[in-house]
Amino acid sequence: MGYLSHPDYGGNHNQAGWKLIGFEDKMTYAPPFGYYDTEYNKRR
């Protein structure tokens, strides 16, 4: 669990676990978020 936990616990050093799976921890994001909503919004 430590490999994917908050880096403060130590097991996810430099967010290595999060980078592997493609997770980012940010306070803000803006749409579009992924492939399908990007394509959806292009059609609108």
């Binding site: 669990m1 994917l4 908050h6 997770f23 921890d25 749409p31 579009p32 978020f33 399908y36 909503d37």
Partner: protein, 557 residues
């Protein structure tokens, strides 16, 4: 900050500062009454809510990795569970609820579905269901509609009126537009269209735009199980409790655990006994008490409030306090898709389908529900439970699957009816005590056969939906009896007849004229298991009536 003395009889004590208690506190205090709200949990603020899955992730969701920061701590307040009365109850973490100021609205997903007209009339429309207490409510959708609208506008709900062809009539649109669609919502919409179903923008208790001095959602993705750092989630903590406190007539007293509602020799409530954080006992005097402690703790508190006048527990002449317990039934299916969804961003749910909301005699059993699409995981939870069953849980193949699927997985989640059975109930455990020496909450619960059929029906529809949306692979969690629950309903049911219900249609206890129960315990039926919207509409309606009664002197102290 307003402080009342214990020995001063305030107009109202409210037990529980959650989804209902926060609303009632705001309504009573702004109407001019003195209110003390006793909340067993802490008073947390936006700065306390951080993106730490190990700390905050809710434990109800297997694999139970959280620390119960926002919810009841089962190490201090154990539950016991048995399927049927003859079974020996065993220790478990079965019933979970918000245990902080704001209650469950602090960590909930924010799905905010109104009940439909049929939810209040199903006994009349459908008929009896053998072995159940299926009954009509003593109120109709029309009675509650103004209060649904009030809840949506006061608390701040985002949605699109008229988008769901199955929606009941409404007097006003939503105050805020829907939140931006996510890839999970696009896929649900795509699948639904192919099947001839109707996806619509999810009504959500999260602000899509700034509203009444609060910030809009920043799409950080930590909604379900977490508190919102932005105040964008429309919890009572962020919305109405600050208004209540500003009146100078409302004291929120956190870390205050009520153990008994006290009555005088005339059988009227005169205050509550509670423990402070040092486990010292206090008595807060009150002219009336409103219990908003949730569908499990409200009946537990009434059962613990026995006296010579009320030997079966307070307000329990019917013997029904704790009975007809209902919970969150449903099914959970998953699928993987070709391209990245990045669904860890933003709010959980952006599209919903309610084509199978009503019971349909053609199916051959009672039951209905709704379906949403979401990504139900944070990184640790995904690694433990989010991969398909055929993937190894160790080594290079495990790592590869995590890498490939974290951003390509969708959960299709159905929320379905749960029938009210008298044999499903909350009682006091005769053997197990909590850390304060009080009897533990004992749950007895076994799903009705029609509930299983409904869950299986929705499981099948969800898998069809994943296929139609183009899933590369799909699988389902087993459909089985609940091992834990967060939607606690039905245990002080509302009705006109004191022999078959606990509270009247305005939430006043049939047996005690200055005692009210306002929360999920009042539910007669479960709706489609997204109860918060209806709990809060009921709270607005109850508060409206309590204010009228108090002003006209018809709540005898």
């Amino acid at each position: 900050m307003t402080k009342f003395e214990d020995k001063t009889a305030v107009d109202f004590v409210i037990v529980g500062a959650g989804g209902a208690g926060g609303v009632v506190a705001k309504e009573l205090s702004t109407a001019g009454f003195q209110v003390v709200v006793l909340e067993q949990g802490p008073y947390l603020h936006e700065g306390d809510f951080i993106h730490d899955e190990l700390k905050f992730k809710d434990v109800f969701d297997p694999p139970f990795i959280g620390q119960e920061v926002l919810t009841n701590d089962h190490t201090l307040q154990p539950n016991t569970f048995r399927k049927t009365a003859p079974d020996k109850a065993v220790l478990t973490s079965f019933a979970q609820y918000g245990r902080c100021v704001g209650g469950g609205t602090v960590h909930f997903t924010g799905n905010y579905w109104r009940f439909h007209e049929v939810d209040f009339l199903e006994r009349s429309r459908w008929g009896a269901v053998e072995g159940t207490g299926l009954a009509d409510w003593p109120i109709t959708y029309d009675d509650l509609e103004p209060y649904y609208t009030k809840a949506e506008w006061e608390l701040g709900i985002s949605g699109l009126a008229g988008a769901n062809p199955f929606d009941p009539p409404r007097s006003k649109p939503y105050p805020l537009p829907p939140l931006p669609i996510k890839s999970s919502g696009v896929l649900l919409e795509r699948g639904a269209r192919k099947l001839g179903w109707h996806a619509y923008p999810a009504p959500t208790a999260i602000l899509s735009q700034p509203y009444r001095g609060r910030s809009a959602c920043a799409h950080c993705g930590f909604c379900e199980f977490f508190g919102c750092e932005w105040g964008a989630k429309s919890s009572t903590l962020a919305s109405v409790i600050p208004i209540a406190e500003k009146t100078g007539r409302c004291e929120i007293r956190p870390n205050s655990y009520v153990r008994k509602i006290s009555t005088d020799t005339r059988g009227r409530v005169d205050g509550v006994l509670y423990f402070d954080p040092q486990k010292q006992e206090h008595f807060q005097k009150a002219k009336a008490v409103v219990v908003c402690a949730n569908g499990a703790e409200t009946p537990r508190l009434l059962l613990m409030s026995k006296s010579n006048l009320f030997p079966q527990g307070l307000a329990n002449s019917s013997g029904l306090v704790g009975k007809f317990f209902m919970l969150d039934s449903g099914s959970l299916t998953l699928g993987t898709f070709e391209y990245p969804l990045n669904d860890f961003k933003s709010v959980r749910v952006t599209r919903v389908v309610q084509d199978f909301y009503d019971s349909d005699p053609k199916r051959g059993f009672y039951g209905g529900g709704g379906i949403d699409a979401r990504f139900e995981f944070y990184p640790i939870g995904f690694a433990l439970t989010g991969l398909s069953p055929d993937v190894p849980r160790w080594g290079a193949a495990f790592k590869k699957a995590l890498k490939e699927n974290f951003n390509r997985t969708v959960t299709v989640f159905s929320h379905t009816t749960c029938l009210p059975l008298e044999s499903n109930n909350i009682t006091l455990d005769p053997d197990t005590k909590d850390a304060w020496g009080l009897p533990a909450l004992r749950v007895t619960y076994k799903s009705h056969a029609d509930d299983f059929k409904t869950m299986n029906f929705f499981n099948d529809r969800s898998l069809e939906l994943l296929d139609a949306a183009g899933a590369l692979k799909k699988w389902a969690f087993p459909v089985e009896d609940a091992a834990a629950t967060v939607h606690l309903m039905g245990t002080c049911r509302m009705g006109n007849d004191p022999k078959s219900s606990v509270v009247d249609k305005y939430h006043r206890a049939h047996d005690v004229p200055n005692l009210f129960m306002v929360d999920g315990s009042s539910f007669v039926t479960s709706g489609r298991n997204q109860p918060t919207c209806t709990i809060q509409a009921l709270a607005y309606r109850a508060a409206d009536q309590i204010v009228r009664m108090a002003k006209s002197g018809s709540i005898p102290a």
